[in-house]
């Protein structure tokens, strides 16, 4: 019993909270980029340890069985048989229904789950696909994503005042200077915590590359050390990159700061070209 992928869209994949405990073997944790929206989506279904599809525009699914579904995260103009669905709400799916995520309205990634989750393969304990590491693969046309049929009896939605927002003109990324921060020169430090950066279209689940003023690299070089979620590395050309779920587990570039998790979740919802600014905490 399943969703059948009619159109795969830009990039959609199965995610969960990520793969814990394997970074020492070189596995990135992967998982949902916007964990806040992901968790709220599952909460609406009354599920905690489950999974979801991380959706980008263009995805179209045909339901082959009844269930209760929830969507959250970005507004991707989701419709059920052509009728608009509200984000952060649950709704009934009937056999034969067509669920579409037509285009980007606000945010970048939506989360779609069903009661009881999707019955997909686990790899090292996690359902999450990892694109960079070629663990599992994104959804393709014709693919079936199984779920256990369910008959809903009530529906929930999150009040609009409480849904996450990602439409600031300039998004503030709260970041703690790292233990390598003082190796950078004064100009670079002021640039980092002062300048406006723009999200590069080369950003992806590995990390968010930022364009704008370039920083100077420290004279001191550091051994490659493990990368935390939200670590900001300064690349060879002076551009900052905020590391995300599919990041390399070990990194040799200098790390200037770590972005707070909550800011990382918002970052994943900002389209290329969006302006961001780092604020020290």
């Amino acid at each position: 019993m399943a969703f059948e992928v009619i159109r795969s869209g830009l990039l959609s994949l199965i995610v969960d909270e990520g793969r814990d405990g394997f970074m020492h073997k070189g596995y990135a944790p992967s998982g949902a980029l916007d964990l806040q929206s992901y968790r709220m989506t599952l909460l609406l279904l009354g599920d905690v340890k489950s999974n979801a599809v991380e959706v980008m525009p263009g995805l179209a699914l045909l339901a082959h069985a009844d269930t209760l579904a929830a969507i959250g995260g970005a507004d991707l103009d989701a419709t059920l048989n052509g009728e608009k669905l509200e984000t952060f709400s649950t709704f009934r799916i009937r056999k034969g229904d067509l669920l579409e995520f037509r285009k980007r309205v606000k945010g970048m990634r939506a989360y779609l789950s069903v009661k009881g989750g999707f019955l997909t393969k686990r790899y090292l304990g996690s359902f999450s696909v990892s694109i960079r590491e070629k663990i599992g693969s994104p959804l393709v046309r014709g693919q079936k994503i199984d779920y256990t049929p369910f008959l809903p009896s009530c529906y929930k939605r999150i009040k609009r005042d409480f849904i996450p927002r990602f439409d600031a003109k300039v998004t503030i990324l709260k970041a703690t200077p790292s233990y390598q921060y003082d190796a950078f020169d004064k100009t670079s430090k002021e640039c980092f915590f002062g300048a406006l950066f723009r999200i590069s279209p080369q950003s992806n689940r590995t990390g968010f590359l930022l364009e704008g003023q370039k920083l100077s690299l420290p004279k001191k070089s550091f051994h490659s050390e493990p990368n935390a979620f939200g670590t900001v590395q300064i690349l060879g050309d002076g551009r900052p990159v905020v590391l995300s779920c599919e990041r390399q587990t070990i990194g040799g570039y200098a790390k200037i700061a770590t972005v707070q998790k909550e800011s990382c979740y918002i970052l994943a919802q900002l389209p290329p070209g969006s302006e961001v600014k780092f604020e020290p905490i």
Binding site: M23, H24, S224, P226, A228, T249
Partner: protein
Amino acid sequence: MKIEKTGQDSLIVRYASVCSETLLEKIASDAIEARKIDEVIESVPSYTALWIRFDSGKISFEAMGERIGKICRNNAPLKRKNAPLHTIEADYTRGKDLSRVAKLTHMSEKEVVTLHSTQTYRIYTIGFLPGFAYLGILDPRLVLPRKRKLESVEAGAVAVAKDQTAIYPQKSPGGWYVIAYTDFKDYERFETGDFVRFQEI
């Protein structure tokens, strides 16, 4: 030894500024001890440091730092058995960059192969890709900076760059010089601190 915060739920223990096999063994051993703590989610040893990710809902940075510090500062003799040796069969005739390396290091191909295959390496850390083990230390006569342009590297490629060597576990863009190929696929068994040797076939 310094313990520093790397995020809301992670910290790093920096032991020293210079690598050594003795230090590596200590760090690899501490990583295993740390992993036994319930609140520890990740325990990643690398070169001169140990990185820990912990459940910040259950334990504070300060408390975690104290517990980890106790393990790291404990200089009791290592209880770990000798680390395993992995012998990797390597076909140097298929190394597409072998002649390039020979030229750049002013040696014959045979000398490059001998220097690479007679050394016993340690795994200094695993990262970049699952199973990608950074092996050191390469003979100083083979040291070359990474390629400036990334090239496509096949799975099983045995490569060198700077003072390290490694095997690419899957097809990937790479900046290291490919000097051999191997059919070895048992990357799951690699642990930081293990010994590795290449056997010319």
